[in-house]
C-alpha cells in the first residue's frame, strides 16, 4: 500500500497539472486536497488497524536492481506512521492556506507540492538506502521550483542557496552510503543497499566515524543546525506560504528523522562518541537561533530563525541517548510542525493583506483583526513552550533527557527558554500590540476557512500538550526496535 500511496501522490501531481488546462484554475487545488485527504485517511486507518505482529503497520518489498542489491523496500512502523500522518495533514493545511495566494500556474504549483510530499513519504518509509537517497532528491527539485517560481522578491538567490546546501550535503550522504555498501561488501561478500542488512555491517570504528559524519552532514543541514543553517532564513522568507508550511512543518523533520532512523542506528558507537559535539551544536542552535530570531525585523524571518532554535532541542534530545530525550525530540518534531506552520501561515496572511513582512510597518494590528491576533498569540505562546501545549512536552522531555546525559550542556540549553520568551513576545508586540500603525487603515480579519484551519492546528497542539500518549506510544514502539539506547 505504501508504494500505492506514493504513486497516488505522484499521479495526483500530474493530474493536477493537467486539470488546470482541461478543467479550470480551481481543479488543481481540489485534486491536491483530495489526494492528501486520501493519504491521511489511509494513515489513520492503518493507525486504527494496529500494527502487524512484526510491529509494522504496512510493508512492501519489490526488487528493483537486483544486481546491486537495490529494492523498493518500504515499511511503516510507529515513527514512520506518525510522520506520514503529519505529512498528509500538513499537506491539506498547506494547500488550503495558500488557496488565494497563488495567482499563476496553479497546476504546476500543485504538481510540485504533491511531488515534494511524495518524496517525503518515501523518505519516511524507505528501508533501502538507495531508495532513501532517491526520495531525498525527489523532495529537493519540486521544492526548488516552489521557491524559485512562486517566491517573493529575492527568490532566485534563496532557491539557489537552498538547492546548493541540500545538494552538497546530500552528496556527502551519497558518498557515505556508497562507502558503507562497499565496506559491507568487503566483509560479507554481498552488495546490498538494504537498511536492515546494513544495520549489522561490521565497520571499523575509525571509518564508521567518517561515514556517520557523512550522514550527519546531510541531516544536520536539512534540520538545520548552526553553522549550516543560513539557507533556511532565506528559503523560508522567500518561499510562498505553502512552501514555508511544508518546509518548516515537514522537510526539516526529514533531517531529524534521518538522524533517528539512519545516522544513529547505523553507527551507534560512532554516534555515541560524537554525542557531545552533536549536543553542543544543538545548544548553539538553540541559543544562537533564538538570538538571531530576536534581531530580525521581518516577521517571517524571525519565525524562520526560531525554527533553528527549536530544531536544536531535537539535536540534544536525540544525542542524549535515553528514551526521555529521544521521545522529546520526536514530540518536538510533531509539535513544531503545527506551531511553526501556523506562524508561517500567519506571516503569509499578513503579507497578503499588508504587502509587507516588515514588523516596523505593522503594530497594533489586534485592533483590526482580533482573530488573527488571538491565533498569533496562541501559536507564539505554544512556541515559547507553555505547558499544556505540544511544544512544551517535546522540549521539556528533550531537556530532561539531555540533563541525564550532560548537565552543563543541558543547563545552557535551558537558558534557551528565556530567549524564546524574549523573541516570541517581541514578535507579538511588534505586530499585533502597541500603538496601531497609522499606515494600516484597515485589515480584513480571518474568515471561517482560515479560522477552521487555525483551530485545527491549535487543537492538535492542545492534544499533544495534554494527552501526548498516542504520539509517545507510536514513537515508543519504534524506539524500542531501533536498539540505540544503552
Amino acid at each position: 500500500m505504501i508504494l500505492a500511496v506514493v504513486l497516488l501522490l505522484l499521479a495526483a501531481g500530474v493530474l493536477a497539472w493537467a486539470s488546470e488546462r482541461f478543467v479550470g484554475a480551481n481543479a488543481p487545488r481540489v485534486v491536491s486536497v483530495l489526494a492528501f485527504a486520501v493519504g491521511l485517511a489511509w494513515a489513520i486507518s492503518e493507525w486504527l488497524g494496529g500494527p502487524a505482529a512484526t510491529g509494522l503497520y504496512a510493508a512492501q518489498h519489490i526488487e528493483w536492481i537486483p544486481r546491486f542489491g537495490i529494492s523498493v523496500a518500504l515499511s511503516m512502523d510507529g515513527l514512520s506512521l506518525l510522520m506520514v500522518a503529519l505529512t498528509m495533514f500538513l499537506g491539506i493545511i498547506a494547500v488550503v492556506s495558500s488557496w488565494d495566494e497563488i495567482e499563476t500556474g496553479h497546476g504546476f504549483f500543485q504538481f510540485n507540492i504533491l511531488w515534494v510530499m511524495a518524496g517525503v513519504v518515501g523518505v519516511f518509509t524507505a528501508m533501502d538506502l538507495f531508495l532513501f537517497f532517491f526520495f531525498w532528491e525527489v523532495m529537493l527539485i519540486p521544492m526548488y521550483f516552489l521557491i524559485a517560481i512562486w517566491g517573493h522578491e529575492n527568490k532566485g538567490y534563496a532557491s539557489m542557496k537552498f538547492f546548493l546546501f541540500t545538494q552538497i550535503s546530500g552528496l556527502l550522504m551519497l558518498l557515505a552510503i556508497l562507502a558503507l555498501v562497499f565496506v559491507h561488501f568487503r566483509s560479507s561478500g554481498e552488495i546490498t543497499f538494504s537498511y536492515e542488512k546494513l544495520l549489522g555491517a561490521d565497520v571499523d570504528p575509525a571509518i564508521a566515524m567518517w561515514l556517520m559524519l557523512g550522514f550527519f552532514a546531510a541531516f544536520a543541514t536539512k534540520l538545520p543546525s548552526v553553522p549550516v543553517h543560513t539557507w533556511l532564513p532565506d528559503a523560508h522568507t522567500q518561499a510562498p506560504t505553502a512552501g514555508s508550511v511544508i518546509l518548516a512543518g515537514i522537510l526539516l523533520k526529514t533531517g531529524a528523522y534521518g538522524l533517528i532512523r539512519i545516522a544513529v542506528p547505523l553507527f551507534p558507537q560512532a554516534s555515541m562518541d560524537f554525542s557531545f559535539w552533536a549536543m553542543l551544536l544543538g545548544v548553539v542552535s538553540i541559543l544562537y537561533g533564538g538570538f538571531m530570531a530576536f534581531s530580525q525585523s521581518d516577521f517571517k524571518r524571525l519565525v524562520a530563525y526560531s525554527s533553528i532554535a527549536h530544531m536544536g532541542f531535537i539535536l540534544i534530545g536525540v544525542y542524549a541517548f535515553n528514551e526521555v530525550g529521544l521521545q522529546g525530540a520526536i514530540v518536538t518534531m510533531v509539535a513544531h510542525g503545527f506551531s511553526t506552520a501556523a506562524l508561517f501561515m500567519m506571516a503569509g496572511a499578513l503579507q497578503h493583506r499588508l504587502h509587507t513582512r516588515e514588523m516596523s510597518r505593522m503594530g497594533g494590528l489586534w485592533v483590526h483583526a482580533p482573530r488573527m491576533g488571538v491565533m498569533t498569540l496562541f501559536f507564539v505562546v505554544a512556541s515559547v513552550g507553555m505547558p499544556g501545549l505540544g511544544n512544551f512536552v517535546g522540549e521539556f522531555l528533550a531537556l530532561l533527557g539531555a540533563f541525564g546525559k550532560n548537565v552543563p550542556l543541558a543547563v545552557a540549553a535551558t537558558v534557551g527558554i528565556v530567549v524564546a520568551a524574549v523573541y516570541g513576545l517581541y514578535l507579538m508586540q511588534r505586530s499585533f500590540q502597541g500603538t496601531p500603525n497609522p499606515d494600516v487603515a484597515a485589515m480584513p480579519d480571518f474568515g471561517a476557512r482560515d479560522m477552521s484551519v487555525m483551530i485545527l492546528m491549535a487543537g492538535a497542539l492542545v492534544w499533544v500538550g495534554v494527552y501526548p500518549q498516542p504520539v509517545l506510544e507510536l514513537a515508543g514502539a519504534t524506539i524500542a526496535t531501533l536498539g540505540v539506547l544503552p
Binding site: 500590540q433 502597541g434 500603538t435
Partner: protein, 610 residues
C-alpha cells in the same frame, strides 16, 4: 470528594465559554460567567474543604489521567488536597471571587477596549484555573503547568491595554524576568527527576532523606530561583512595580493575593528538602530579609499609589520568605492568607479611588478624600491597619507570629530587620493615607460604585480584621503550631510598639506638625531618596548588563555573521567565474595567441629551462 475536580474545571469552563464566544456575549452575561464560575468554584471548594476536614484524612488524591508516560517519567494529572493546598484553594477561590465581583463593576465603565470586558474575564478565569492547578497538582510538573500558566495570564493582564507600548513593555518584562526564575526551577525539576526518578512531590518528600546535603542545597536553591522570580524577591523583583500597568483588580488578584505568593507555597510545600540544607534555608531567610528592607524603604519614596502598594507587597512577601527561612512554615502561610485579605482590600479600595478620580494614581494629586469617598477610605484604613500590623487586626496576628519565631529560630538580626521594616511599613502607610485622604482636596472625585464594588470591600474588610482569629483558631490545627502573642515579654512589647511608633512619626511628619524638609532636601537625603525611588538601582544595572548589550549585539548581527562564510564562498566562486569568463572573448586571434604562449610555457617547463 470526587467532584473536587470541579474546582479548577469551573474557571476553565468560564474561560472557554468567553473564549469561544469571541466577545459576542452581552456584558451582563460575561459578568455572570466570569465572576459566577469563580464563585461556584469557591462554593465547591468550601464544600470539599468541609468534607475533607470532617473526614479527618490528612490528604486526598484525585487522579485524572496520565499526562506523559516515557519510561520512568510518568507524571500524571492528579489533584492533591491537604491542609496546605486547602488553605491556598480557599484563598484563591474566595478572594478570587470577591475580586472578580469587584471587577464586574470596575471594568464596566471601561470602554477603551472593544470587547475588552469579555477578554478581561477570559484571562482572569484562565488565571484562576492555572493558579488552582499550581496549588492542587500532586507533582512538580503539574505545578509547573500552573506556574507557567499564571505567568502567561499575568503577562496578558499586565498588557491588557495593549495599545500603549509601555504596558506591553511592562508585561514582557514581567514574563521574561520571571522566566529567568522558571529556568532555574526547571533545572531543579531535572535534578530531582534524575535523583528520584519521579516528580511526584509526596514521593520525593518521603525519600528526601536520601539526598546528600550538597544535592539538597542545589535543589533548594534552584527551586528558590523559581520562587524569587514569581514572588518578586531580590534579585528578580524588578518586574512587580512595572506590573502595576495592569487594571487594578489584576494587581489585587495576581500581583498581591495569589500569584506572587506562589513562591511561598512552593517552598512551604518542599519544606522537607529545605530542612536537609541549612544553607539553602539560610539563603531563603536572607532573600526575604533583604527584600523586605529594600522594598519598605522604596515604598516610602513612591508617589504612585499602586507602586506604593506593589513595593509593600514585595516587602510583605519578604516577611513570608524570612519566615520560611527560619522554619516558621505555618506562620508564613498564615501571613500569606491575611496578606491576601488586606492587600486585596487595599488594592481594590485604591482602585475605587483611582476610578473616582478618573484614573489618577499620583497620591499628591489626591487629598481630602476621606469624607467624599467614605467606603474606599474606611476600607483603606482597615487594610492599612492590618498592613501596619496594629493590634487586633489579622496582619498583627500573622506578622507578630513571624517576628517572634524569627527571633526564636533566627536571632536578633532577623527580628531586628523585620521590626525595622515594620516601622518603615507604618511610616509609608501613614504617608499614603494622610496624603491621599487628608489635607487639601486637589481633585474632585466622582464615585458611582454599585454594590458589586463595595460589597467585596466590606467582606475583605471584615476578613482583614477577623482573619487573624480564624488563623489562630483553625490554621494552628491544620498547618501546625503558629506562635502567637501570649504574654508581655519585653520583646513582644517592642514588636507591638514599633508599628505604633511608626504611625506616630508618620503622622507628625506627613501632617506637617514636624518639619523634616531640612533633612529630606539635604544632599544626602535627596540622593538617598532618588536611589530608593529607583528601586535601589537594580533596573539600572540589569539594563546595562543584560538588556542593552543583548539588543546592541542583535542589531549588529542582524545579517548573521555565520552566513558570511557562505557569502564569501559564493563571492569567490563568482569572482573566478568572472576571471574565467574574461578569456572567452570569441576572437580567434586571441585564442591562437594564447595557445602559442601556453605551448611555449609548457615547453619551457618540460625542457627545464624555467
Amino acid at each position: 470528594m470526587d467532584w473536587f475536580w470541579l474546582v479548577p474545571a469551573l474557571p476553565l469552563a468560564g474561560f472557554l465559554v468567553l473564549f469561544v464566544t469571541e466577545g459576542k456575549l452581552p456584558d451582563k452575561v460575561v459578568a455572570f460567567v466570569g465572576a459566577g464560575s469563580v464563585g461556584l468554584a469557591a462554593l465547591v471548594a468550601l464544600g470539599v474543604g468541609w468534607q475533607f476536614v470532617a473526614s479527618g484524612q490528612s490528604s486526598f488524591s484525585l487522579p485524572l489521567w496520565t499526562w506523559i508516560a516515557v519510561g520512568d517519567f510518568t507524571p500524571s494529572i492528579t489533584l492533591y488536597l491537604d491542609s496546605l493546598s486547602l488553605v491556598m484553594t480557599g484563598v484563591i477561590t474566595g478572594v478570587g471571587f470577591l475580586i472578580h465581583l469587584y471587577a464586574t463593576g470596575y471594568m464596566w465603565q471601561d470602554h477603551e477596549e472593544p470587547k475588552g470586558y469579555s477578554r478581561f474575564f477570559a484571562y482572569m478565569n484562565l488565571f484562576v484555573f492555572a493558579m488552582l492547578m499550581l496549588v492542587l497538582g500532586d507533582n512538580l510538573l503539574t505545578l509547573f503547568l500552573g506556574w507557567e500558566g499564571v505567568g502567561l495570564c499575568s503577562y496578558l493582564l499586565i498588557g491588557f491595554y495593549h495599545r500603549d507600548p509601555a504596558n506591553g513593555y511592562a508585561a514582557r518584562k514581567a514574563f521574561v524576568v520571571t522566566r529567568v526564575g522558571d529556568t532555574l526551577m526547571a533545572l531543579g525539576l531535572f535534578l530531582l527527576f534524575w535523583e528520584f526518578k519521579t516528580l511526584e512531590m509526596q514521593a520525593i518528600l518521603a525519600e528526601a532523606g536520601s539526598l546528600t546535603p550538597g544535592m539538597a542545597t542545589a535543589v533548594g536553591l534552584l527551586l528558590l530561583g523559581g520562587a524569587v522570580g514569581k514572588s518578586a524577591q531580590v534579585p528578580l523583583q524588578t518586574w512587580l512595580p512595572d506590573a502595576m500597568a495592569g487594571p487594578t483588580p489584576v494587581s489585587a488578584l495576581i500581583h498581591a493575593a495569589t500569584m506572587v505568593t506562589a513562591g511561598v507555597y512552593l517552598i512551604a510545600r518542599m519544606q522537607d528538602v529545605y530542612l536537609l540544607s541549612a544553607d539553602a534555608q539560610h539563603v531563603v531567610a536572607v532573600v526575604g530579609l533583604v527584600t523586605l528592607l529594600i522594598s519598605s524603604f522604596t515604598a516610602l519614596t513612591q508617589t504612585d499609589i499602586k507602586r506604593i502598594l506593589a513595593y509593600s507587597t514585595m516587602s510583605q512577601i519578604g516577611y513570608m520568605f524570612m519566615a520560611l527561612g527560619v522554619g516558621a512554615w505555618s506562620a508564613a502561610i498564615f501571613h500569606l492568607m491575611t496578606h491576601a485579605f488586606f492587600k486585596a482590600l487595599l488594592f481594590l479600595a485604591s482602585g475605587s479611588v483611582i476610578l473616582a478620580l478618573h484614573h489618577e494614581q499620583d497620591i499628591f494629586k489626591m487629598g481630602g478624600l476621606w469624607k467624599k469617598l467614605p467606603i474606599p477610605f474606611w476600607s483603606m484604613a482597615i487594610g492599612s491597619a492590618a498592613l501596619v500590623a496594629l493590634p487586633f487586626t489579622s496582619g498583627f496576628a500573622s506578622k507578630d507570629a513571624i517576628l517572634l519565631t524569627a527571633y526564636d529560630n533566627g536571632g536578633w538580626l532577623y527580628w531586628g530587620g523585620g521590626a525595622l521594616a515594620a516601622g518603615m511599613t507604618a511610616l509609608y502607610t501613614t504617608r499614603m493615607m494622610i496624603v491621599t485622604f487628608f489635607g487639601r482636596s486637589k481633585t474632585e472625585p466622582h464615585d458611582d460604585s454599585k454594590a458589586n464594588m463595595w460589597l467585596p470591600l466590606v467582606v475583605l474588610g471584615i476578613l482583614s480584621i477577623g482573619g487573624g482569629w480564624f488563623g489562630i483558631a483553625v490554621l494552628d490545627d491544620l498547618l501546625g503550631p503558629i506562635k502567637s502573642f501570649s504574654h508581655f515579654t519585653p520583646l513582644a512589647l517592642v514588636t507591638i510598639a514599633v508599628p505604633l511608633l511608626g504611625v506616630l512619626v508618620g503622622w507628625l511628619v506627613f501632617s506637617g506638625r514636624v518639619n523634616v524638609s531640612a533633612v529630606v532636601e539635604s544632599g544626602l537625603g535627596n540622593g538617598l531618596r532618588r536611589y530608593w525611588h529607583g528601586g535601589w538601582g537594580f533596573d539600572w544595572v540589569y539594563d546595562r548588563v543584560f538588556v542593552k548589550p543583548f539588543v546592541a549585539m542583535a542589531r549588529i548581527n542582524k545579517n548573521d555573521v555565520v552566513d558570511l562564510v557562505f557569502r564569501i564562498t559564493a563571492a569567490l566562486a563568482r569572482g573566478l567565474h568572472y576571471i574565467g569568463a574574461l578569456t572567452q572573448t570569441g576572437r580567434l586571434r586571441w585564442y591562437a595567441a594564447n595557445l602559442g604562449l601556453g605551448l611555449v610555457l609548457v615547453l619551457l617547463i618540460v625542457l627545464e629551462v624555467l
